[in-house]
Symmetry: C2
Subunit: 172 residues, 2 copies
């Protein structure tokens, strides 16, 4: 699946209801979080999805352990599931069990994909950095970081991307 | 123009022939460079285009002076112009004169847009950082940075985005 088509599949869903980012612990226990922010394109001539994760998140521990993640586009009708994934922590609860989402082995990375989703990106972390307080405009510091916990930004090389044949008709 | 449509317009052109990034000096002399790398999406809930510019580039001086830039999608048939913009430096040559491209005032930023292009993003730099050698995989260091000159990465808030009504039929 080429980058242009991918961008068209991912972008409409990013803002609402959100995409599902899946990570896994070293012993392959998966976790899923809802993301409403992200960037897609290419850097260094390499197709890339860029995700932002706060250090306090369970997903952060998992990405740090395996250095990979998957991005999954939910189907129409999955809004409640996405919302649940965005409101509880995988530290306390197995969100796959809680929501009925089914993890499936991916092809190139340790983090699984989600069976019910209609498009999937498998990403391996190529570069990362943390947002620096001193470089931020004041209004973003106040709105997004009143308690610090500055996002780590992960540049994920898209190793594999694929979608259901009829994904366009299933987009939310 | 919403982010999803924008991503669909920008992404196919990014890799080939490339997009045209326009910047301007404080006294409004414009310069144009061809870019084949970039990211689009949203961060902090804000629509964003992310560009990479090496410190040695003339464009770098200009973005540092005004903290804004525009991204312009070339029309079908402009491949040679894009290629010329990618092979000479604006320090020596006025690339607008050289190529016949016409700068036009943009609506929200100091950098102009290009009349002949079919879609335009006006961006204001919200965050920037420089790629750090120690965080890069070895193969990228060797391939992209044999002489250093590590890219500055500019997060450009998309303040305004618009396209010709029939831009889809004019895409390269």
């Amino acid at each position: 699946m080429d980058l242009a088509k991918l961008a068209c599949a991912v972008m409409p869903t990013l803002r609402r209801p959100g995409l599902l980012l899946v990570s896994a612990s070293r012993n392959r226990r998966p976790n899923v979080m809802a993301i409403g922010w992200g960037l897609i394109g290419n850097v260094w001539g390499i197709p890339m999805f860029v995700a932002a994760v706060r250090p306090s998140r369970y997903t952060h521990d998992l990405i740090e352990a395996t250095k990979d993640f998957t991005v999954n586009v939910p189907a129409k009708g999955m809004d409640d599931v996405v919302s649940t994934c965005g409101s509880i922590s995988g530290r306390q609860v197995d969100k796959f069990k809680e929501t009925g989402l089914i993890p499936m082995p991916s092809r190139k990375v340790k983090s699984p994909i989600i069976k019910q989703c209609i498009a999937h990106l498998e990403c391996s972390v190529l570069y990362q950095f943390q947002i620096e307080k001193r470089r931020l405009p004041k209004q973003i510091k106040l709105r997004v970081y009143p308690h610090g916990n500055y996002h780590d930004i992960y540049f994920g090389r898209i190793l594999k991307a694929y979608a259901d044949k009829d994904y366009e008709s299933k987009l939310p």
